[in-house]
């Protein structure tokens, strides 16, 4: 479904991604771990179409199509969803209003009828319940004044409504208490299935206890330096990232 080939990207001549290779098949869950500043969010944002990063080399194929040539909205309409590590606040734009516009644009692309206000409200209520999001948050401006945890939950809520094919979740588990973590994990597991793929960027094993990944990758200095199964995450938690940085280990 997704194939990242020798991806180099950065900002203003400053290279952040230094040749990333990754293949994600439909039905798989991949975890990407790595130290702070290693380029995990950069990778997530480049995949979602953030224009402030320049891709200098490499390519990304999504269902065989050139993902990097698509606008952010076209990627979303094609089923790519990225949950932001730091969701931005948008005063004056209501959460449901903007989500309805997004959902209908995506449905249109998929050849589905647009939802009217009533149908949308029903859907939204159902999904809000699923992620145990307070209904009061729905009509507030997007993320405006939300607590850290509420912002993360809002990302998962949007994912539940938009039902993406490829979900890239950038540290959606960070800053969540244990109940919230379980809810977020449930949300991810509900999406997980034969028709989707999920990339989880995380620092913590605790999410991976709930959402068991098929593959774990370690990103260091803009490159994937190690890949493995779910055990890799346990080992990383135990030994830290210095262990993977050592050239001896790299060569094994």
């Amino acid at each position: 479904m997704l194939e990242i080939i020798n991806l180099h990207a950065g900002v203003q001549g400053n290279e952040i991604l230094d040749g990333v290779n990754l293949k994600v098949n439909v039905g798989e869950v991949h975890a990407i771990m790595g130290p702070n500043g290693s380029g995990k969010s950069t990778l997530a944002q480049v995949l979602a179409g953030r224009e402030s990063f320049n891709v200098t080399e490499g390519q990304v194929l999504y269902d065989g199509k050139d993902l990097l040539a698509m606008s952010p909205e076209d990627r979303a309409r094609a089923g790519v969803f990225m949950a932001f590590q730091y969701p931005v606040e948008i005063p004056g734009v209501s959460n449901t209003y903007f989500l309805k516009a997004g959902l209908n644009a995506i449905r249109k692309q998929r050849g589905l009828e647009e939802l009217d206000a009533m149908e949308f409200l029903k859907l939204v209520k159902e999904k809000a319940k699923l992620v145990e999001m307070e209904e009061g948050l729905l009509n507030r401006p997007v993320n405006h004044g939300f607590s850290g945890g509420e912002k993360k939950r809002n990302e998962i809520f949007q994912m539940a409504v938009l039902e993406p094919r490829l979900a890239i979740l950038d540290e959606t588990d960070s800053g969540l208490d244990i109940d919230a973590l379980r809810i977020v994990a449930d949300g991810i597991n509900k999406l997980r299935g034969k028709h989707n793929a999920i990339i989880l960027v995380t620092h913590y094993q605790r999410l991976l206890n709930y959402v068991v990944p098929d593959f774990v990758h370690v990103l260091v200095d803009g490159r994937i330096v190690k890949s493995g199964g779910k055990e890799l995450a346990l080992k990383l938690e135990e030994k830290g990232y210095d262990w993977v940085r050592e050239p001896v280990e790299l060569n094994t």
């Binding site: 606008s71 952010p72 997004g102």
Partner: protein
């Protein structure tokens, strides 16, 4: 003296005097005469004038605008003006056509023996004393050529008088229509609004046009508020894209009174708004909000003054501008705290969104503080649409253009939502939608 058409207006004044047919005696006419004399001395301002530094009125000076001296319906019916009124709107409708009050197009609901609404011309005859007591007493013409010009031709406009302890429930909607006359004309409505003690009203001043012609509106509104009076005043300016619009709103506030203004500037090619709230009674409060939306080569200048004349008065101000194309905005927010005005609390914010590289804004707070126990904050921002917010919306499937519109709209709604008159608020939302639909480049 001739190069800026001063003599043109002096000549026009002589025509005007003749047209008055013997009504050119009395106190009001004496005021007119000194106003035209003052105008002849002042001439139109230039950019050397500190108050007009960023607004060049040369294009306006170059045209011989013909003053409209009397009422002519120009064939208008209520049907023609409906589109300028909010839908299903119950209000007192006071309509002026080219600056002159139209009995036939107006509809007054709240008239009683004591509550008076109608034409200023009529009021000059029937309520001469009240009119003379206020007209020109607040909007002084000695230092302002446009006010002098308006005062010289004072003849008609709207008069509202609400006595003590009276709440007028239905909004008072003043609609100033410019029609498609063959000549390039200047309409100069003069409005006087007097509220007694403990009274309350909401007043809308709307300016609209039936053509896209070149004309000139030069309006002056004086608002006088008694003790504890409350006014919400909205100004909605939707002049023709080629029109000149100069307006002055001068508010005189008594003790504990509360004046709120929401001013919306959409139309006109060259626009200058002056609004002054003089808090001349202890404990009074003034709120001035505004939204200006300019495109193409529009020039919109808002000069506001919070005049703290007495102790313990609060003022709040939020002006927001959205500037696209090659448009230019000017914001000058003066906070004047006089010597006696201790315990003043004044807040001022001006925020601007520049939608193109060729649009610009000159924004300036102007603080003149002569008291020592004063709280005063001010801030101005100039920015583009937030790239991060745009990306967030697009990452959820919303097209780039729609995402832009959504953010611009959110920026503007902040001011629109402060309007309490619901039908007007809805109309403003619609106007905004239509404006953004036209594109903002």
């Amino acid at each position: 003296m001739t190069q800026d058409k001063r003599s043109w207006y002096v000549l026009s004044f002589e025509h005007f005097e003749k047209s008055l047919n013997g009504l050119s005696s009395g106190a009001i006419h004496a005021v007119r005469k000194s106003a035209i004399a003052r105008f002849a001395e002042l001439g139109f301002p230039t950019t050397h004038d500190e108050e007009w530094k960023f607004t060049d009125v040369t294009p306006l000076k170059g045209v011989e605008f013909v003053p409209v001296l009397s009422y002519n319906s120009d064939g208008l019916t209520v049907k023609d003006i409906e589109k300028f009124l909010p839908k299903n709107f119950v209000c007192n409708r006071l309509v002026c056509v080219n600056g002159h009050y139209s009995e036939e197009l107006s509809s007054v609901l709240s008239q009683t023996q004591r509550v008076k609404m109608g034409s200023l011309a009529e009021a000059m005859r029937t309520d001469g004393e009240l009119v003379s007591a206020h007209l020109g007493q607040h909007a002084r013409f000695d230092e302002n050529a446009f006010t002098a010009l308006n005062t010289a031709f004072v003849n008609d406009g709207v008069f509202v008088s609400i006595p003590d302890r009276t709440i007028v429930e239905d909004p008072i909607y003043l609609l100033f229509i410019s029609t498609a006359l063959d000549t390039k004309f200047v309409s100069q409505p003069r409005n006087l609004i007097v509220l007694g003690k403990n009274s309350q009203a909401s007043i809308v001043e709307a300016y609209a046009s039936l053509s896209d012609n070149i004309y000139f509106t030069n309006s002056v509104t004086e608002v006088v508020m008694g003790e504890n009076a409350i006014i919400e005043h909205e100004k909605v300016q939707e002049e023709s894209a080629r029109a000149f619009h100069v307006s002055r709103t001068q508010v005189h506030q008594g003790r504990d009174s509360n004046f709120v203004s929401n001013s919306f500037a959409f139309g006109g090619s060259l626009v200058r708004n002056d609004i002054v709230a003089t808090m001349d009674g202890e404990g009074s409060e003034a709120t001035l909000n505004g939204l200006y939306l300019a495109n193409g080569s529009q020039h919109i200048d808002n000069h506001t003054t919070m005049d703290h004349a007495k102790p313990r008065c609060n003022s709040h101000e939020l002006y927001k501008g959205i500037l696209g194309g090659k448009s230019r905005g000017v914001f000058n927010g003066k906070i004047f705290v006089r010597k006696d005005a201790q315990k003043t609390d004044a807040k001022q914010t001006n925020k601007n969104l520049l939608l193109s590289d060729h649009a610009s804004i000159d924004t300036k707070p102007q603080l003149e503080i002569f008291a020592n126990d004063v709280k005063c904050t001010h801030g101005a921002t100039i920015g583009q649409l937030d790239e991060e917010q745009l990306f967030y919306l697009r990452a959820r499937g919303i097209g780039a253009e729609d995402a832009r519109t959504m953010l611009i709209y959110a920026f503007a709604s902040d001011v629109i939502d402060r309007v309490h008159v619901e039908a007007l608020r809805d109309r403003l939302h619609n106007v905004m939608h239509a404006k953004l639909g036209e594109g903002t480049e």
